[in-house]
Subunit: 141 residues, 2 copies
């Protein structure tokens, strides 16, 4: 199995009530026109789960379920997974130089950011077309 190297281009910042992504000065040019997008996809490195144990995890029990079920990591968004890459779609509220202010992010302050991608129409699935296992159906509401 081949392995590859990724590196940090910025980090998540949580400052009182605001959430932003700070891109390093070395990569600021890559942000040109980002303010023209309404939503972005953030890929980050889930540092806290970068352990041999977490990366060997293949079965997980998603939290907050009425009837807990043990399911595959690839069928869940568990942070414990072979490659601990987090993915969140966020709303882009404003851009100030190398800071992207967003509506929320399910990552901790200081989390390394790996990539930012603009959210395009092809990323969208209408809510009525999303098919989920019965234990996730409640998330649709």
């Amino acid at each position: 199995m081949s392995s590859f190297d990724v590196f940090q281009i910025g980090e998540v910042k949580i400052d009182q009530d605001s959430y932003y992504i700070e891109i390093y000065e070395s990569h600021i040019l890559g942000l040109r026109h980002i303010e023209k997008f309404g939503h972005i996809i953030v890929l980050w490195w889930i540092s806290m789960r970068n352990t041999p144990k977490d990366r060997a995890t293949l079965l997980v029990t998603p939290p907050r379920l009425t009837n807990p079920v043990e399911t595959g990591v690839f069928s869940s968004r568990s942070p414990s997974r072979p490659n601990p890459i987090g993915l969140t779609k966020v709303k882009l509220l404003k851009v100030e130089n190398n800071k992207l202010f967003v509506d929320r992010i399910d990552a901790l302050d200081g989390t390394p950011v790996l990539d930012i991608k603009p959210y395009l129409p092809g990323d969208s699935v209408s809510l009525i077309d999303i098919r989920l296992p019965e234990w996730f159906e409640s998330l649709k509401d």
Copy 2:
């Protein structure tokens, strides 16, 4: 800037008219219940752009535009980017053991796969709420 290690858990296969993702036997347990999802998000490694030049690219000109514009890599889905991680949402057509048959995938045969995530309602943005730069507006049709 910290760097991190990711590894291949499977690969993209393009076989005549069918597209599928083959997950290695070592990771097949992680697929439990995946067939209950209608769509998945595939993260893969864009091997052909894993070069120092491509990874230093910060400005790109998206293809197929009526009026070409030079924009930031983080404002585009260009395969040349600091961390060449490809992301596509695909429809899951059927699952046969370690093979996930999908409707399409914009990756080449043999492309290393890094992660599979289920598509959840939180990944969706309704088409009318997606905001794009003027040069991408035609993609909305």
